[in-house]
Amino acid sequence: MTDKEKQAWDLLGKSEAPQVDEGFNQAVWEQLKDEATSARTPLRLPFVIGAWVAAAAAVIFCIRIAFWGPRPSDGQETPLSQEDRAIVAHLELLENMDTLEHVSLDGNDEDQQLLLLLADMAGDDR
């Protein structure tokens, strides 16, 4: 080592550095605590979302039961489905009106009277 290098080396020792105290340790612990908290959050999140979805579904189910009653069992018809069936039957009947007009009616019973009446009504509609 030359004389100049030795002097420079000694001089370098005069370089000062910032001083840190106990607050440094506290800052590190706080960072670690924050990280632990944020690391737990993603694990908890799906459970929280699941709980909210379950609660919302339960509320919707209760409202449905309160306003429209329990769901009908298989084969049981609701008033709405009965009405639908009647409309479909009526439409089928109207479709057959044309053929009824050409049916020869010799009988006199109530069914034949009804058919004639419906045929007249269909004719009026047209």
């Binding site: 002097q7 420079a8 440094f24």
Partner: protein, 192 residues
């Protein structure tokens, strides 16, 4: 096993007080080394905290095969180099409004009231020393800082830098020559 390694083993096994003792023992050398490597006091303290957070997170993987300080200063060196690389990629534009400066020299107690000329000389020397260190390539700078301020033997510096002892000697020779050249004005003054 050295004392610090024993503390680290205790910390690995769940003793947070042992980790706190480690921080107390090494916070100043870590901050000092980082300051001399990155040249900024605020960054040095932030990076030092980052170093201890990294160590705590990876404590389960710690094996006391080498001295704790070797492991610690390897993390310090990597953290400083990563920071310098990022800073190079995204240079920070300093906003100086005349009220605040991100400069440790500016945060120091005002000693100028008692001896303004003397304080000016000290500040000037500090700036020159930091500039001289900054002029060194990263590995040379690390070797100089660890040798001069941590009094680390070449063999341990070699482990920190993941190189050979002969390579460290070479780094030191070059660094001393560069420092002598950079600090020539102050050396002349020292003699007079």
């Amino acid at each position: 096993m050295d004392e610090a390694s024993a503390w680290m083993v205790q910390a690995r096994d769940g003793d947070d007080e042992a980790f706190d003792r480690l921080m107390t023992a090494f916070r100043q050398p870590v901050v000092g080394t980082l300051y001399r490597l990155v040249g900024n006091a605020a960054d040095a303290e932030d990076l030092a905290q980052e170093v201890f957070v990294k160590i705590y997170r990876s404590r389960q993987r710690y094996k006391p095969t080498a001295r704790f300080s070797t492991w610690l200063f390897r993390i310090v060196r990597n953290t400083a180099f990563n920071h310098l690389r990022d800073r190079k990629r995204r240079p920070i534009v300093a906003i100086k409004d005349g009220t605040e400066e991100d400069n440790w020299l500016a945060d120091q107690p005002d000693r100028s009231a008692s001896a303004p000329d003397e304080q000016l000389a000290v500040d000037e020397l500090q700036a020159a020393l930091m500039q001289a260190l900054e002029a060194l390539p990263p590995n040379q700078r690390t070797a100089v800082v660890l040798s001069r301020f941590e009094e680390m033997p070449y063999a341990e510096i070699a482990k920190v830098l993941s190189t050979s002892e002969a390579a460290v000697k070479m780094l030191m020779q070059r660094a001393r020559a560069t420092l002598a050249k950079r600090l020539t004005p102050f050396l002349t003054e020292e003699r007079s």
